[in-house]
Amino acid sequence: MGASEPRSDLIDRWRRGDPAAFESLVRDWEGPIGRFLFRMTRSAETARDLTQDLFAKVYTARHTYRDRGHFSNWIYRVALNLARDEARRNRRQTEPYPEAELAGDEPPGDGWAERNETVEAVAVALNELSPPLKEVLVLRHYEDFSFEEMARLLETPASTLKSRFAVAIRQMADRLAARGLRPEEEMT
């Protein structure tokens, strides 16, 4: 998940307030954390702001961090709390994907509009999942958390998380089917 666990000496220097150590942590983790926050909030602007807030918290809370070799768990917990606060504060509508992002590096061609619709449908289906189901699906699929790692992060038994994961998969399939999109239809 995310970047690899930082070395102990880097953690120690960061905790002592070493700016270079802090910047090193930021550069290693801003990508994974930013992507995680984007997937949870579906807004690039919000993800950017939350990522900035997260690392401000990481810096100010360095005195409270106890290095038990689970920095990744700690930073994802901070990110998760921010994402949850944002969801509670602002139950906004799903923003449409910017067309520039949908196009990616490929020039528009045949099937581009259809692909956009498919991507939009998948994004909406994912965003319609309840927060507990969405968290499990995003952490499992995109962040590659094992259920045991998720259990430590979410403080929930792994068996419960596996059940939620199964429900999330089923709901995604049902919602996509309701939009006329079956997962077995491949995106061409």
């Binding site: 802090f22 997937r39 900035q52 810096y59 596996k162 998969i169 997962p183 077995e184």
Partner: protein, 167 residues
Amino acid sequence: MTADDVPPDLRRLLDALPTPALPPVDVGAILGGVAPRQANAARFWKRTAAFAVGLAAAALVALGWPVPAPTGDLEALRDRLAKLEATPQPFPDQSKLEAKLADINDLLLTLATDVNERDEKQRLALRTLAKQVTELRSLSDRRWTEAKSTTDALYILNQSSRKEQNR
């Protein structure tokens, strides 16, 4: 692939969701913004403590009590305030505290509603059970009465038959 993995077809769809490139975190802003905020927080608490001490002294004078001369405790408090400015504490975020309190309140209300609903369901279940027990008891009483009547009738019939035979 196991049940713990996303099915391949759904995985392809999820992987197709693009993730925009986010701008890098402004580390300078974080490092630059922390020190002034902490200094402000320290000044705020120092002023608050000085105001509280002044208010307490004014209250004592108003009540006619002699204002206590600075003692070791006050000196210690002054030293502590000086240290507070030197080692700044993070400024409490009131809005986040209120948000957390609101969440705890919501959770308590939800739990209370759950408990009430469960209590109601249990009361309903107990009432149904009591009714069923009463019905079974009535049925049992009726059957017993019928069985007794039948037994009595058979006994009388049997006795009558014997008397007939003995004649």
